[in-house]
Symmetry: C2
Subunit: 511 residues, 2 copies
């Protein structure tokens, strides 16, 4: 794979100086155009030590306007990073639309070094790469331009380079013992690199292998690749924006699962029809049961806190289904200092400039905390789908994106519960009417609630498909029969207690 990158290709210094001025102007112009565009650029630099990774990043910072470039390299995770899923640190560094983010090794680094050192086998490595692929696909589907540069040196060239650096008094600090250790492992490095590149060079996130020996040659290669890709991507996005093309062309789809809509039509029952809506609880039983379950949650969450186990709770449901009331019954059992309730409102402009999952990643809390979502990322496949705020391809691919997001939460040891609070259409009408009558509840009822009600059927289909596609073994939906508030509240609190209990029995968390 690397033979074409060991051809000894060179560009003379004069030739470089001849081409540089025009190329630079082109790049600066493109960067200006990018600032108005609706996508970010993500550049990944990886490869052999001494092949010019940092030099290339420095060069871009020098040639382009550094104010619109984010440069990131990753050392050992901080404690705040270790308390969240691994990708949290990458999500929080993503450039917003209109900017360039350049990353050194980043999400490739840890699995790659583990493979080289023999700490993991190829199968495990491939699992990590599956995560990388999903991550990059998620960003590319959203419009990001992703360019990955693998900077290569032959074994001899690397040796020469390290020796040359060592001799230069201004550069010798850059060569560490680790570099020489890596050099001795050159062959296993190359085996791993080849595997990595083959595995992760996919449609919208291909690797470019760059021969790294000659400075002018490798710089021009990186710069021309960026120029051409950026130019092309700007054109493509502009065309798409203008042409109103069939959504399939925008890429995406169901994310690996069949893209066809499930055959739910007017006549056929949905998961919601299967619920026993007659479930009730007497006042006396309610008091007793609720107190018991709240007590369980209080004790279990204290234990979870001590073990560093975080909890994420998602509440979705019809308007007036009692989400707020259930959340309050739950938080009452918890220490306010450990809980954050997040109402999903309109995204801020910082959030708008990122992938729609970005805001949820950034909200993930430190170890041992409870995060309660009053509506959540499922808005993408509910309100955004039904109201047409998201394009067909966008909400369709969201199922896979959400599954992956939740998989990362659960793999990190986070206790995740998802509730759909279900009421019948008649019950909703009753509740709306009662809200109109009680002065201090009137603010809760908006015109939008009445409008949403008109789309009851469309929402039912969306809920059905949401449950079908995102109720996984690691993150199942709990459907709550909520015509009876007492029954619903106890079921919610009990479900959380059960989930915490299971996680603690599992021995999750810090030990």
């Amino acid at each position: 794979m690397f033979r074409t990158a060991e051809l000894g290709r060179k560009v003379s210094k004069e030739e470089f100086e001849r081409q540089a001025p025009d190329l630079r102007i082109e790049l600066v112009d493109l960067q200006q155009a990018l600032r108005q565009a609706d996508f970010p650029v993500i550049l990944v630099f990886a490869g052999v030590d001494g092949a010019g990774k940092s030099e290339s990043m420095n060069l871009l910072n020098e040639w382009l306007d550094p104010r619109w470039i984010l440069t990131r390299a990753y050392g050992p995770a901080s404690d705040e990073e270790r308390e969240r899923p691994e990708y949290w640190r990458f999500w929080r560094d993503l450039p917003p639309k209109g900017r360039i983010g350049q990353f050194l090794s980043c999400w490739y680094s840890r699995p790659f070094m583990d493979l080289v050192n023999g700490a993991i086998d190829v199968a495990t490595f491939d699992e990590y790469m599956a995560r990388v692929i999903t991550f990059e696909k998620t960003l590319a589907d959203d419009g990001a331009l992703i360019l990955k540069f693998w900077m290569h040196l032959s074994k001899n060239a690397q040796k020469k380079r390290l020796k040359a650096l060592e001799k230069d008094p201004n550069q010798s600090w850059r060569v560490t013992k680790q570099d020489w250790r890596h050099w001795e492992m050159y062959d296993s490095f190359m085996f791993a690199a080849e595997h990595l590149i083959a595995r992760t060079s996919v449609a919208d996130a291909r690797w470019s292998i760059v021969e790294g020996e000659d400075h002018p040659y490798r710089s021009l290669t990186v710069l021309y690749t960026l120029r051409d890709a950026l130019k092309h991507h700007l054109d493509r996005r502009r065309t798409l924006a203008r042409a109103d093309l069939p959504p399939a062309i925008l890429g995406g789809g169901g994310g690996g699962v069949a893209t066809a809509a499930p055959p739910v039509t007017d006549g056929l029952p949905t998961v919601l029809d299967a619920l026993d809506m007659s479930a009730t609880l007497s006042k006396g039983d309610y008091r007793k049961d609720l107190a018991r379950q709240q007590g369980r949650v209080a004790v279990l969450q204290r234990k979870a806190r001590a073990r560093g186990i975080s909890t994420v709770l998602v509440f979705e449901g019809w308007d007036a289904a009692g989400k707020g009331g259930s959340i309050r019954r739950l938080t009452r059992a918890l220490d306010a200092r450990q809980v954050t309730v997040i109402p999903v409102a309109a995204p801020t402009d910082e959030e708008q400039a990122q992938h729609y999952l970005w805001r949820f990643w950034r909200q993930l809390g430190r170890a041992g905390r409870v995060l309660v979502y009053d509506r959540s990322w499922y808005g993408r496949v509910l309100v955004e789908r039904v109201e047409g705020f998201a394009a067909d391809t966008e909400w369709r691919r969201a199922y896979a994106e959400i599954r992956d997001f939740e998989d990362q939460l659960v793999q990190h040891g986070i206790v995740l519960c998802k509730f759909w609070l279900h009421i019948t259409k008649d019950e909703q009408l009753d509740r709306f009417r009662r809200r109109e009558e009680i002065p201090y509840k009137r603010w809760k009822l908006t015109d939008e609630d009445w409008r949403n009600r008109e789309n009851w059927h469309a929402y039912t289909l969306a809920v059905n498909e949401m449950v079908e596609r995102t109720s996984t073994h690691f993150a199942p939906w709990t459907l709550v029969e909520a015509n009876d508030k007492r029954h619903a509240r106890v079921k919610v609190v009990r479900t959380v207690a059960d989930a915490l209990e299971a996680a603690l029995a599992d021995g999750a968390g810090k030990t």
Copy 2:
């Protein structure tokens, strides 16, 4: 001071239940009104262990809508927090406008415990309290409603309370050995508490001492205090917004320094007039000097990085004075992975919902990094003053706020350099004309630049006052004669190198 809080005041459970429903509706309504208001509410709970601090916070979370309440308690600082000035963790937790943030002990906790334990003396404690006062004043001046509750128990009552908790199997976990140790230190606790309250009970951030023994009494006290203060503050802000009152009423002023504008008028020279604008550097000297200074910066920043010393560089100056060019000459010498260049653009809506310094606090980077500001917090006393975007009181008090902010940076060991790049009015005109001619520079010149030029004199006065009020011994301004770009660039890079060198010689940073 606490004698009035040991009167054994009680409210019966029945009386509490009688008053609760109406009070709750009032509070919920006020919270709704707050959501539309232009200020946040900051509640601080501190006091004797067992006097109901957490219980009060939980109660508020239960009674009000928890979605608009942020609750924060502070354990030991995380490594990401330790790498920034101490107040970074508080700034990042501040509630935006329209929300309530409730804080446990927070900025009082560390100095208070240090004083109780004898780790610091009263004079040092007072220094820390001066910081607290400035912090709270900064927020209050910006409109925040700050309420601080000191929950009190007599020595006997505390003993009774701890014993009662120990006996209750559901609560006994809450009593730790530390609580009993604190109880034994009750008297020095009280001495410190009295001093703290006396010292920090200032105009817009007074302490309320709450007798904490009786649960219903203390709850009603907290809730009524919040209700009255919130109602009053909402009215007051509304009146202010309507009445267009003389700015003095809005509070603020020069922050401890005389508020009168300095006697700079048309005839009198400003600091800028004192610059020798004839300073130049030949092309040959420039190449040599620049390379030498860049080399120094490169080596010194590597050392600073290793020692965890961060650098913050502020660039201000006339349009076309060469800020971008100087920044690029500087960043060229640095490793792109350690540098972030921040262009000051319009604040995002998240930033708009906070104090204007909030965005700069949140941007502070991890240890050893370089942060370069292309325009900065000085916008408050430059463009916002001259264009009238900030009220008189707002930009006048900004001098003190900025001094305090920079003091915190420097005290944390951050190397701070501030540059004003000065060119003459004629030179600016030349540069504007040249920009119009060069195609790839044309985007840099906007109508705003021409408009700013018309306010040259007003800006000169603003710059003069800015230098007078914010050029401190710990954070002096460097005025750069920039008619000659070569001279300016070398001076900038050399100043940074000198500052790094001095900091390293000082033995700053991790050792």
